[in-house]
Amino acid sequence: MLTLVESVNMALDHELDQDPEVVLLGQDIGKSGGVFRATAGLFAKHGKDRVLDTPLAESSIVGVSVGMASQGMRPVAEIQFMGFIFPAFNQIVTAVARMRNRTRGRITLPMVIRMPYGGGIHAPEHHSESTEALLAHIPGLKVVIPSNPGRAYGLLLAAIRDPDPVIFLEPKRVYRTEKQDIDNDGEAYPLESCFIDREGSDITLISWGAMMRETLQAATQMESEGVSCEVIDLVTISPIDVSTILESVEKTGRCVIIQEAPRAGGIASEIAAELSEKALLSLLAPIGRVTGYDTVMPYYRAEHRYMPNTQRIVDEIRKTMEFQ
């Protein structure tokens, strides 16, 4: 039985074993094994040429990964917290996302940038935000967020093997909350499709990452009230698997989207726009959104007020179900 962070570790270990071009790099990922222990034991097993402790410089971590990937290596970079990605944003936007396009396919970047995201662990400022929409807005990237240990394993394998850059956001709040039995069989999951975690007929709930936990809890609660929820784990927030979502909403006629990130300009908005364009006549109620608020993420004494919880999701489902 493995936790999500242990499954990340197992996937990294598997790919280090399988492919000599895979190299991990980041701050404190070597002997220390990473602040969340995602790379624990990998330095000892694979050595200093495969697991590199970098200087404390995010632009270096990403920029150096670009150079390595341009030569055919498969760097897997770790940014310690998503809140520290901003010094590397220039590299992500101006190089990572566009090298294939810039060279008309002559140079490609098979690289992964991993980072823990999201709130709920009582951390200092910049350690709790969910800014995935900023990344999803950049053409040329894939942005993937696993929600449980099994998915973290299969999706990380796929991300490392992908011929293009993948941003891999790890929901740190659920790093250790759930354990699953996972075979270390090297089987990757597709990055292009979302997962239907629960079939239902009355309403479609769409979420990703750590919020899947509360979303599934809300679905269970609503079942006792006689509401059948279909629950979709979006997984890849860019590019979005619109057809699976569309099929579900055309069936249920109702939809609530749950995200931890602020509401304005978020992924939930994008999904809602797609559905309003493509499924308007199937909709029996306005599309609901349960999100973080459009304000700065509060420090941890107040973060519980900011983050969507099961009650807020249940309230929104009820509102959507009651719409006349």
Binding site: V23, D49, L52, T54, P55, A57, S59, S60, V62, G63, V64, S65, V66, G67, M68, A69, S70, Q71, G72, M73, P75, P87, N90, Q91, T94, A95, M99, R100, N101, R102, T103, R104, G105, R106, I107, T108, P139, G140, K142, D162, P163, D164, E192, P239, I240, D241, V242, S243
Partner: protein
Amino acid sequence: MPASKKSLLKKHETTSSLLPVADTIANFEIRYVQFLNAQAKIVNELPDFANDNDCLLELYRVMKTLQMFDHKVLLLHRMGKIGTYTGTLGQEAVGAGTASCLRNEDVFVPYYRSATDLYVRGVKLHEILLYWGGDERGSNFDDPRLKHDLPIPISIGTQLLHAAGVATAIKLRKQKDRAVLTMTGDGGTSEGDFYEAINIAGAWNLPMVIVINNNQWALSESNTAQTACQTLAQKAIAGGIEGIQVDGNDVIAVKATTQTALEKARNGGGPTLIEAVTYRLCAHTTIDNMDSYVDKQKYNSAAEQEPLIRLKKLLQTRELLDDSKERELELAIKQEIESEVEQFLQTPPPAPGDMFDYLYASLPERVAAQRDEVIQRENPDADIS
């Protein structure tokens, strides 16, 4: 309001001069390399390649080509045939001197004013024109020997970290005979990525050479607006790597220094930062007007020290070049440029779907629909498969 207190320090006093210092724990110096001064006088014993007449003639041909190319591109721009171009006038020796030291197996990581290097490396002038003519295909170099070389980046300083990454790949793969050459302008040394690059190059002892083309101008800002440093080479000290300054108008000095630094890198000796001091004799780009910020007198004096004049004098002294040979050379270069320009002008625009075709290895369904729309808008009968 309390009265402001006057500083107790006299004008040139430093902190350490006012303290009882126990010891000096580090000393640094920046050396300057020059062989051929502005008067074409040989001021140091020449390196071997400088006694190879063919080598010098080839350097001269390259520099002359880029000088003439610069004028031609400006004309093309005035005629509306090409967009912005970042000229290399006055800085030809930096490009010719550095790139001529590279071997096929080395990797070149350019910046946007690297046209001379790209040309020496084997990139065709029409590819450079395509790039600046608004066509990504200009970075899909024809020459298969260049498959590892990176494309021109516009974002300043980012390339230095890419170079560090390429050097990391070379080091991790234990490839002993390869090194990376990268470049930036003087303005680029104010960027965070510059400091990060020299830092990681030093910390990881990477096989790379960073060349600063110090052409005195970051667009309209002079060096004094950029830094308090006496030299840009001394910034290397902060990264714990070797820094050296060369006369960037002396192609022999640039080549000798780059060659030595690349050899050092290939032999595991680590990175070097080379500051090549030159002067931008053209505007920042074809759309910039330098009259507003350049002192005409200084410009004229810099123009007298530009790199071709002194090399030409040396070649004349050695009886390798006279007026008729010069005309012959110019004619050959003119033909090459005209033919490359023609190839550029004849290149049909990219196909409508082109902007989507290289986004990912396989295009996501959602984006594929947008591609179809673009194609069909342009050609309603198109087969979009």
